[in-house]
Amino acid sequence: MRELSLHLLDIAENSISAGAKNISIVVAEDTTLDLLQMSVEDDGRGMSAEMVAQVTDPFITTRTTRKVGLGIPLLKFAAESCNGKLEITSEPGKGTKLFVEFQRNHIDRMPMGDLVTTIHQLVISNPLVHWKFEYRFNNRNGVFDDALIKEELGDIPMTEPDILNCIKGMIESTILEINPQFTQDTIFTQQ
């Protein structure tokens, strides 16, 4: 995977598989501290400390739990290659939070990629999950919460043509209002 947003999609997929009802995604960029952070927090079934240790290490994974694959180890490796880290905190029955951090201007840091499409697809194709997406840029932040949308729509599916377009625009606006310069492949932009 060559985009951070594809990794984000993959991590969110784990939350869906864990039966989460609420999933909260945060993407935070800080040009002063030179950090790019992403987190996915869910209220799914959670994991024991033992299992948390297993999912981050590709060499320990026993593959009896088919839900856990190479996604997390690959992301961990990508982060650690960029002076960053990946942390998972989880509690059985409560949920899981995955946090990953990169040095933003590191030469090996993957581009953000198509973040809008990623969030859009997660929201559209998992209508039973309550999604919250927050984008932070330096000291500003914007929040997209699909609860309001679902309340307005009632039983009209989000996959209706005009609705699709509208939701995509709302996600895009959340990011652009905070960072008008946001582009998919901005890596070395300076504030």
Binding site: M1, L6, L9, D10, E13, I16, S17, R66, K67, G69, L70, G71, D114, T117, T118, H120, Q121, I124, S125, N126, P127, L148, I149, E152, L153, I156, P157, T159, E160, P161, D162, I163, L164, N165, C166, I167, K168, G169, M170, E172, S173, L176, E177
Partner: protein, 122 residues
């Protein structure tokens, strides 16, 4: 990029969708399911789904539900797209590129003709 979209725009879009629904007789729901496990994503499933959603928008295809599923154990055939039209049996497509996804939307979902070249026989 596009103009600012707000909840007000959504309300307008919702009212339009409601009007269209009243005009259109219920023709049986159509479900399109995209495999989004790590294998699917690595094989390009996000671009496949993007093509599906864009076709719905561009061609104003109403009455289709698009959802996703995890790995179904056919990783080598990803990206996988399943199409269920009303009561008909499920059709599973393998190696669905964005181009093929557009073709499936136009020929299978809209016109009801299965795109036989990429069907996976279970």
């Amino acid at each position: 990029m596009s103009t600012i979209k707000s909840l007000e725009d959504l309300k307008k879009a919702r009212d339009e969708a409601l009007k269209k629904r009243e005009l259109k007789a219920t023709s049986g729901a159509i479900q399109v399911i995209v495999g989004m496990g790590t294998c699917g994503i690595a094989a390009g499933a996000r671009d496949t789904m993007k093509a599906i959603l864009e076709t719905i928008e561009q061609d104003s295809i109403s009455g289709v539900i698009v959802t996703q599923t995890g790995c179904i154990g056919l990783c080598e055939k990803e990206p996988i797209v399943e199409v269920i039209v009303g009561e008909q049996p499920k059709v599973i497509y393998g190696k669905v590129s964005p181009e093929l996804a557009r073709k499936i939307m136009k020929e299978h979902v809209v016109d009801g003709k299965v795109v036989t070249s990429n069907v996976i026989q279970m």
